[in-house]
Symmetry: C2
Subunit: 149 residues, 2 copies
């Protein structure tokens, strides 16, 4: 039977969780401001951009970006309303839907990628020394490994 975290552990935990949250939120704000896209939009558009013919089955797309089908379905409905993507019936499986990158979506994604990568550099990479960056990677790996346990 193990003890609870120490006061110091908790201070570190708070600092860590609050800062990563603030970082995520800053990135989101930046992406939104620079490009009008949410992180979800970006993930969808990235996957479609890399797909052959710029189209993908809905389930494959969900698996690709690690979302639940339902979440994707809701999100695609909103993106379709903004004409970033279209949904078409699938020829080979009539249950299925194909998600197609629409021209405004391709444009938006094209305009988004450089600013987004620049923001990642400025807010994350540049904030850390090379040693810290490496340590961050190891810490993430350790946390992840422990999570799936």
């Amino acid at each position: 039977m193990r003890t609870l975290p120490t006061r110091d552990d908790l201070r570190t935990w708070r600092e860590f969780i609050e800062t990563t949250e603030a970082l995520r939120s800053a990135l989101t704000t930046r992406l939104q401001h620079d490009t009008g896209l949410s992180p979800g939009d970006y993930a969808v558009l990235l996957a479609l951009s890399e797909a052959p013919d710029h189209r993908m089955r809905s389930s494959d797309l969900a698996a690709r970006i690690g979302w639940e089908r339902s979440r994707l379905s809701h999100h695609l409905a909103r993106m379709e309303r903004r004409e970033l993507i279209r949904r078409e019936e699938c020829a080979t499986d009539s249950r299925g839907a194909e998600v197609v990158l629409a021209p405004p979506g391709a444009d938006a994604f094209g305009a988004a990628t450089v600013p987004h990568l620049r923001a990642v550099r400025e807010l994350f990479v540049d904030a850390l020394t090379p040693e810290q960056l490496a340590a961050a990677g190891e810490i993430a790996a350790a946390l992840k490994a422990h999570l799936v346990r």
Copy 2:
């Protein structure tokens, strides 16, 4: 003029951001499952528990937990529906509202704190070596300092 992040930087970034998100989500799920509270509920109840008389002006509460007043207002409405808190008119400033910890809220918070701290230890502290834990604190501090810049 600086360059974009390298492929390695991006791998680290992805790993870092996805893992911290997964960690946050695991903690949330755990808290929800063990105690029926969301992190927001927990933050509100914690602040009220520490307040004199278990009551606080709405704005002070918002400042304390770092929320927008509007967000707090919505959240309190939901918590009041569940009878975790009550809202009373403020005697000294008739614009104001006082948020009061209700008995079910106090009970829920009391039952939540140990499991929650245990989860923090299991999912965060225990996943890291003492050196990694220290490094995590420093990384968070560096990121935070860079954010406010």
